[in-house]
Structure formats: C-alpha cells, structure tokens
C-alpha cells in the first residue's frame, strides 16, 4: 500500500506548495486536489508541477459537467504536458445542487454521462479525429458548422480515476476506469464497494487488481481516542444533514449500505429540524473512528494494516495539524508506519480487494 495526500484542505497558498514538496521528499506517491465551488482542481496541480519532479498529480475530483468533455481532456493534457506525464485524472459527478445551482448544467443520467465523458476524454488524449455518437453527447454538434477535430497536442496516456459510491457507478468504475476514488468507506464492509467494482471489471475482461483502489482518510495522532473520535463523528452531521437534497444524498446512501441507515436517517431528521447539536451528538462515534485513523501510533499502524489487508492500494491521508510543519511531521510518521506494514507478510487476505473468488 502506498500513501498519497490531498492538498486542498491546506488551502492554496505558499504553504501548500511546501507541503507538496515535502510529501514528494518523504516518498508519497501522489498529491490530489479537490473541486467544490472555490478553486478549480487543475490549476493548483500545475503550480505543484513547477516545484516537484516525481510525485504524481491527481484531481480528486474534477467535476464532470463543469467543462465540456473536450475541455476536461484538455485540462488534463495541459498538466500532463508540463509535468512530464505525471497527471492522474480523477473525475466525479458532483451533485445536482452544485451542477444545477452553481454551474447551471442539468444533472441527469450521471452514470451514462460519466461513461461518455471518459470515452471522449480517452479518444481526445489518444488523438483520434473526434466523432462521438452517444446518448448524452454528440460530437460534432449535429447540423452545425463543427468539424471533427484531432487535437494537435501530443501527450502520453493519462490514467483516469473515478469517484463513485453507488452500485451502478462502482460497476462503471470497474468496467472503464484505471482507479477508484473512495470515501465513506469502512474496511470491514469493503466488499460493499469492491464486489461491485469487481463485477464491472469482469464485464470488461479485467479483474479488481487492475484498478488502483484509493480511499481518503484523515489522520490524528492522539492518546484521547474518545475525544478525537467524537469530534470527527460530529463533523459528519453536516454531511448527513446538509449535503445533497432531500431526496438524494449519495453519502447517506453509502453509509446506509454499510449498516448505518437508521443512524444517518435520524441525524438527517434532527439537522433538518434545526437541532444541529443533537444531530452531531447522534452520529455514532464508530463512524468517526471507522472512516479515519485516530489514536496513538500503535493504533494507527493497526488501522493502516486493516486498509492494506482489505485491498486498498493507495490510502490518501490527511494528517491533521495546525501548520505545514505539523502536517509534514505527521506525514513522516505515517510513512514510517506504512513502511513497517509493507515489510510484514500479508496476513488475513490474499486476494486483492479482499474479495474471495
């Protein structure tokens, strides 16, 4: 298992470039940006490319729909061209609130839209003369002055990662993506995700081991596990209560599929009723502890091992700290712990992804 880091939580400033540089020095495999309704995901990667040499550069994620599929390809090719081929293109559908509210773009048929977007991106990167006849996208625009275009840009192949939570999107990930970007993930219910990804992979004549399985966690070294676990659990009240719409909250669905349906529904109800304190208190501490690495180094090492054993290939860690130095120190400690684990023989499971065939 390798470690990667996310940088957006650090903020886009001088410190974030230092952090990326230190991560590279420590041997972290990749650095990932994010995209909400602040900065875009590609531009900070371009700046990181200017101060690093080896670390891979990923969008985690770039929103499908915020740009045309061609521009998504072009953004990725831009970073690929200036980074000597270090780009990892992570994409996701975002949600209807952001797509329809902030971008003004219809949020419909997300799985089909994602499939077609990825197919178009691949064709552009491989310099096909672009003609595409999909259910969502048709290129060139029919009955228009548009001509089939072959990009003049020459870049090497760009791995595509897909952020997915629901069964159909997980299968799509297995079928067409090079990697998976996971969250809301518990190691003991890993098959909820991996079985669907494996099913999609098999449809395409591949197996789960062909897909780089990545999961994001926060890390807090502390002796007061109860306090920190409670704090991280409290933070989920916003996710369950405020994210998504009344009818659709992808995170809540993912937690429900892992056995927390009643808890999540109750948190959402309390939040909507305006009692945010009660909503926070109602989030089980197991959710805070089970989706992050919290505790003294021995506990964190055990937790790292759980991720490795269940089949996660790349753990995207966010060491909590009040400044860059503290985060870098946490990252260094994590790299030592993961090195220790990687030297151990793999124990409980032998199949990648933890899916027993």
């Amino acid at each position: 298992m390798t470690l990667s880091v996310g940088v957006m939580s650090v903020g886009v400033n001088d410190g974030f470039l230092d952090y990326a540089r230190e991560a590279e020095r420590l041997g972290v495999s990749s650095v990932w940006t994010a995209e909400f309704w602040g900065f875009d995901a590609f531009t900070p990667l371009a700046a990181i490319a200017a101060v690093t040499d080896r670390i891979r550069l990923g969008t985690g994620i770039a929103q499908i729909g915020a740009r045309t599929p061609a521009m998504l390809a072009m953004n990725a090719m831009g970073v690929q061209a200036i980074s000597d081929g270090r780009m990892l293109l992570g994409v996701g559908t975002s949600g209807p609130q952001v797509m329809e509210g902030w971008h003004g773009v219809e949020f419909s048929r997300p799985v089909q839209r994602t499939r077609e977007t990825i197919e178009i991106v691949r064709r552009i990167v491989s310099r096909e003369r672009l003609e595409y006849d999909g259910e969502v996208y048709r290129l060139p625009l029919p009955d228009s002055a548009g001509v089939p275009i072959r990009t003049v840009a020459r870049v090497s192949e760009i791995p595509i990662y897909l952020a997915s939570l629901g069964p159909a999107n997980l299968e799509l990930t297995g079928e067409i993506a090079d990697g998976w970007i996971g969250n809301s993930f518990f190691t003991d219910t890993a098959p909820v995700f991996f079985e669907r990804i494996a099913a999609g992979a098999e449809k395409a004549g591949r197996s789960l081991s062909d897909i780089d399985l990545t999961v994001a966690v926060s890390v807090e070294f502390t002796d007061d596990v109860a306090e920190a676990g409670r704090r991280h659990a409290d933070g989920y009240a916003f996710t369950f209560g405020a994210m998504g719409s009344g009818s659709k909250n992808f995170y809540n669905d993912a937690f429900a599929r892992q056995g927390y349906g009643d808890d999540v529904a109750e948190v959402q109800r309390l939040w909507r009723a305006g009692d945010r304190a009660a909503a926070a208190a109602r989030v089980p501490i197991e959710i805070g502890l089970g989706t992050n690495l919290i505790g003294p180094p021995d506990v964190v090492r055990d937790r790292l091992r759980e991720y490795r054993d269940c089949g996660v290939n790349t753990l995207r860690v966010n060491p909590i700290g009040s400044n860059t130095d503290e985060r870098v120190a946490g990252l260094g400690q994590l790299m030592e712990l993961v090195d220790e684990i990687n030297r151990e023989p793999i124990g409980r499971l032998t199949e990648p992804g933890g899916v027993q065939s």
Partner: protein, 351 residues
C-alpha cells in the same frame, strides 16, 4: 508603451517546455509587462500559467484566451481565482468566443449569438469572482438552472473584485462590448495607420459606460523583427498574412479578414481568401502585397520598426504582445531584450 509576450501552447507539440519557462523567467527579470497563454485545438490556457505563477515573481499572467463555450462561467471563475491566488494577484482573465468549428466540433456546444453569450458569460464570471450569490437571468444563461435542484451559491473562497477581465474581440459590436464591460482588450490585426477601425468601437463602448479608451488596457499582438534585409523579412511573413486572411475561421466567418477589410485592404483580403479557399495557397501568398505585410507586422529596419511601434503607442496601445523569435532559447531571450529596448527607445521619443 510596454512589451508583453505570448507563449502560445506549442509546447504540447514538440517545443521544449523548459525552454519556454526559461524564456518567461527571463521576461520576468527584464520587466516585461505580461505573459499570455493560448487555447486552440486540444490545448488549453490554464495549466501553463499555473506553472509559471510558481516560477515567476513580477510578470502579469494572462489567458489569451479561455474559450467561453468550453466551461461554465463558474468553472472559469474558479480557474481565474486559483491563478490569481497562485500568482499573488498577477492574473488577468482573458476571454473569447473562439469559432464555430471548434466550439461546435470539439466541444459540441452551439456557437449561436456569440456576442450576447460573451456579455452574459462575462457578467456571471464577474459576479462569481466578486463573491456575489450567483443568480442570473439571461437569454442564454440562467442560474440556478430552472426546474432543477440547485440553489444560488456564492464562492467558498475569498473573492477578488479587482481581478481584471480582458476580452479578445475583433468585430465592431464585440469591440464596443469590450469598451463597455472589460478592463482590457486582447487585440490582433491592428494596423497602426488605421487604428481607429478597431479602437473607435472600443472608445464608443467605453464612453457609453461613462469611461474612456484609456481606461482599457490595450494589449495588441504584433510580431516584431529587425533586419536590414527588409525583402527577406517581408517574404518570411507573407505566408502568415495569407493564412490569417484565408485559412483562419471559415470562408463565411473570418474575423481577421473582416478586420483587414475595414482597414482598407478589402480587395486584397477577398482575393487572398478566394485563392486560399480554392486550394491555391501559393497563389494566395503571392497575392499579399508588401505594404500589407509591413502594415500588419512590426518588421523592417530599426527605424521602420521604431516608427511602427510609435504609431501603435500614439494610437493608445499600452503593450505590444510578441511571440518568441529565434531558433534557440538564448536567441529568443536576446530578441526579447532587443525588443524591450527598442520599444522603450521608440516610445520615449514619442513622449
């Protein structure tokens, strides 16, 4: 008058990116006003500037241009603010409509009503960058999307209402729009002797908005090369002129051709385009007269180029935008130093 440079995006296609970075770092040291990226068939304008922001200290960074149909207004605002932050406030957002071949062919978006779309798009980008809650009722853009689940959002990061927006425009109405709503103009095809063909509409738009032409930062593309062998220079640039008149856009919409027509080269522009479209490229090149090449580019002897530069400065141009000239990085940097010196000398005399 100042000098700016454009790096295009040729590095996708074989040019050495590190050499280009070295060129821009030299421009940064020499005191060049700004560096402009470009966007075309499969090449985008943002990544190069994100990289250059981390490697330079003073030089302005501009997109020349980001094509509006390829991203939502919000997505453009997000990239603009990232570049603004990464460069500590050196970023200038250049927007343009591109053309129907690319917009409808590569991006699958309708090219209809580009002028109205550009106005609405720029207004929405400005709202987002200003940190306003983005709710907009336009003819082409409505935010949030009607009937959808979205609600009006505002930026989740600190805004920057002073982030300048430049428009790349050529037609009379879009030039007026530039004068009316933009902070700067990304100009091409400006013939100094006929500057009013393009600057007149910008002035009218500016005055309509209670401003003047001098409130708009006029950045004009202009190849600059000095040699005593003027004939060779003309012959070297003649094919580029023919391509601009005949090969850009489509036979129906070639904004460059139209701009030169308005500047008094109508007969030649039509003939060159006719030959080019018929496939007689050699004939098209041969049909471009010397004086048109000299009018369009700052080429010739030192005196001729200085004269041409003075003409642009007198017309109100704030910066000439040059592309790299020379085979090696060293030659390109030497050329840039020469150009900065020449422009300073020429316009000091004018002042």
């Amino acid at each position: 008058m100042k000098v700016s440079v454009s790096v295009g995006s040729a590095y996708y296609n074989g040019d050495n990116w590190e050499d280009l970075v070295g060129y821009v770092c030299a421009a940064d040291r020499i005191g060049v006003d700004s560096v402009w990226s470009a966007e075309a068939w499969g090449m985008e304008a943002v990544a190069s500037l994100g990289y250059l922001a981390a490697r330079t200290e003073r030089i302005g960074l501009g997109t020349g241009i980001m094509q509006i149909s390829a991203r939502t207004p919000a997505a453009t605002a997000m990239s603009a603010l990232a570049l603004d932050r990464l460069s500590n406030g050196r970023f200038r957002l250049g927007l343009g409509v591109s053309g129907p071949q690319v917009v409808e062919g590569l991006h699958g978006e309708s090219f209809a009503k580009p002028l109205e779309r550009l106005r609405e798009y720029t207004e929405i980008v400005r709202m987002a960058i200003n940190g306003e809650r983005v709710a907009y009722q336009g003819q082409h853009y409505v935010l949030p999307r009607p009937g959808g689940e979205g609600k009006a959002l505002k930026l989740a990061i600190p805004p920057n209402p002073s982030l300048p927006i430049y428009l790349a425009t050529l037609g009379p109405k879009s030039l007026e729009l530039t004068g009316e709503i933009a902070d700067g103009w990304i100009g091409t095809s400006l013939v100094a002797a006929h500057a009013d063909v393009l600057l007149g509409p910008i002035r009218r738009g500016a005055e309509r908005a209670g401003r003047s032409l001098s409130d708009i930062d006029l950045q004009v593309n202009c190849q600059l090369e000095v040699s005593d062998d003027v004939d060779s220079l003309i012959n070297r640039y003649r094919p580029a002129m023919a391509f601009t008149l005949g090969g850009m856009g489509s036979a129906r919409t070639n904004f460059y051709n139209a701009a030169f027509t308005r500047a008094g080269f109508g007969d030649v522009a039509a003939e060159v385009q006719r030959l080019w479209v018929e496939g007689d490229k050699a004939g098209a090149v041969a049909a471009v007269p010397d004086e048109m090449v000299l009018a369009a580019y700052a080429i010739g002897t030192d005196d001729m180029v200085a004269d041409r530069v003075r003409g642009l400065a007198t017309a109100g141009v704030n910066a000439v935008r040059l592309g790299p000239v020379g085979k090696t990085a060293t030659e390109q940097i030497a050329h840039l130093e020469m150009a900065v010196d020449l422009v300073q000398r020429a316009t000091a005399t004018a002042a």
